[in-house]
Symmetry: C2
Subunit: 363 residues, 2 copies
């Protein structure tokens, strides 16, 4: 591959002059510039960022560590692929700044993170991002103090700046809107109880109820713990059975995420209960592929993944540029909109005939 020296020789100038042309230094005579440009063209010369970065101390690289890519979509119904939207948000924000994204994947194994970050340090990245699959707490290996690091979708004991989804507020606004639509008894099938988002969303649910002076009834809340596809369906079945057989069944059901809502649709359908005429259903995540193609389209709260990525990237760039010297160690919350679709009825009904609820066996 051609070097700056080859170009210099061909153009009959010094390497430094070629360097000037490459870097658009105005102090080059037009005729000289043309000679050099011609030589560059002829040789197909491309400058080496590696060589340049040695001197300039700027690699133009940003490292991203994630499990998002290798996310085993096959194995778990949880969450799924959408955290890749975070990567998308990051990517688009970085592209504009002229940085290139270096991506490494944990393959689901967090113990590989130190190695991956080490590799990034060897590449002299100007900053790093760590993107988690789910809103969760993590602990990372110690890095040199000068390393700019940003957590996305997770937080740490250490004072590392983090970007998180505002789960509490999202659930609050969704339930608030459902109550305003007339619902007063709202069932809640939550994601597994160990998950960070579960507690926050439950708080949002309760805050919305409290705002409207509706008493919180624990019997309306069921946590769907982890399990395989069949297990998930069975747990959903049981929970729904429980809710629908209450003396006063709920007029609406909030699901911990959109995939639970899919299962709920299926179970309700096989029991002859129609959505939203007989009961309303809402999700969480706004997993577009799912929520929009479901029938009826699903009302849900959006997890603002892309926005979180963009915010994180911009903040990291500001840290790199020295604009933010001492980042706020408190996680920054990003909230998403409520996506109101047809699965929630504005005027709630509750015309589920009891006899339909006796059937128990599935298929």
């Amino acid at each position: 591959m051609a070097t700056i020296y080859d170009v210099a020789k061909l153009a009959g100038v010094s390497p430094k002059t070629v360097s000037r042309v490459i870097n658009e230094d105005p102090a080059v005579r037009k005729s000289t510039r043309e000679k050099v440009d011609a030589a560059v063209e002829q040789l197909g010369y491309v400058p080496s960022l590696a060589a340049r970065s040695i001197r300039s101390r700027r690699s133009g690289l940003i490292g991203l560590v994630t499990g998002a890519i290798s996310h085993d979509v096959t194995a778990q119904g949880q969450g799924g692929l959408p955290d890749l939207l975070i990567v998308q948000g990051i990517q688009s924000a970085l592209a504009m700044s002229g940085h290139t994204l270096l991506i490494a994947d944990t393959g689901g194994d967090l113990s590989r993170v130190p190695d991956l970050m080490r590799t990034f340090e060897e590449h002299r990245v100007e900053g790093m991002l760590f993107v988690a699959k789910h809103h969760s707490q993590i602990s990372l290996p110690a890095l040199r103090a000068s390393t700019k690091l940003m957590l996305v979708n997770c937080f740490s004991d250490e004072p590392i700046p983090a970007i998180l989804p505002d789960d509490e507020r999202g659930q609050y606004e969704l339930v608030d809107r459902m109550i305003k639509a007339g619902h007063r008894r709202i069932g809640f099938l939550t994601i597994p109880s160990g998950m960070e988002a579960q507690g926050l969303r439950l708080l949002g649910y309760q805050r919305a109820l409290a705002k409207h002076n509706i008493e919180f009834e624990p019997q309306l809340v069921h946590a769907l713990e982890l399990g395989d596809v069949a297990g998930q369906r069975q747990m959903t079945w049981n929970a729904l059975d429980n809710l629908l057989n209450l003396d006063q069944p709920p007029t609406a059901i909030c699901c911990g995420n959109d995939h639970i809502a899919v299962t709920v649709y299926g179970v309700l359908r096989s029991r002859g209960v129609t959505v939203p005429d007989q009961i309303s259903v809402a999700g969480y995540d706004n997993h577009h592929l799912v929520a929009e193609t479901m029938f009826p389209p699903l009302t849900t709260a959006e997890l603002p993944y892309r926005a979180m990525g963009a915010v994180a990237a911009k903040q990291l760039l500001a840290m790199i540029d020295g604009e933010i010297i001492d980042p706020n160690p408190e996680p920054q919350l990003v909230s998403g909109p409520v996506c109101w679709r047809e699965s929630v009825l504005k005027i709630p009904t509750n015309n589920i005939r009891k006899f339909q609820l006796k059937t128990r066996s599935e298929k």
Copy 2:
């Protein structure tokens, strides 16, 4: 940041000796190695790959250009996010070889590709991959001949090695299996007619019919052209209406992809037709998130995205290592399995009562 010279001074040895220790050269006395290691530890020294790569000509970087990351999931029901699985396959294959993945995104704008590839050349990547959203033909900017490039999920006029899904075979095997399950009249709602995969899958469908001496009936095939969510639903509705009102309605319907199948489920349900009892439905893609959570779970042909990515990465590495001097310019086809689930009945029925099909208006 500490350099090899700092370490050398602190350890009381020459820089070259430090280099030897870093590179695990066996010709270093144990006591010397320990001194150096201690200095490395104390200074937190991390070698610079940029400096190293200048001399060794090996950057350890692989560039990946894609629209996958910035894929606007919101806008289109087509395809969706799963091409990211290709990235996943690539990533896992590369990680094992000690290469780091550099990712750049077109943001949906192919005209940015030359710039992105240029940036990769500046980073002196050892090879590049181009991943397309859909099986399609593309044309890329000219690169220096020595650049190792691999196309994934697309092909080109130029003799660039490519990895493609075997759409024809996937559809063939799916339909073959459906016929073996007893179906002889199989409707086909294809993806838009402009798409590469549409023609190939139609060929597979026809080949399967031919194998079993079933005449191909064009009236059973409807192409669903592009449109918004509502338009898609309307087109699906019309096509289904057409199929179900035939004198001999099909006992099964193949959908061009899993998302069409979701819509088909919805439409059939709103017309009171049950799947699979009254009619069987199959998809294409095996979009896990969708196919497995649907009720009943969807029979579909898998698009082997992850495998394609892995194959592409391995082939690229082989090219880099000089094992493949002259790669086959013919695209390499990767086929995926049929995923047989409950949406296709083994013994087909056709007990759709005609009067159910008169209803026309949706909601």
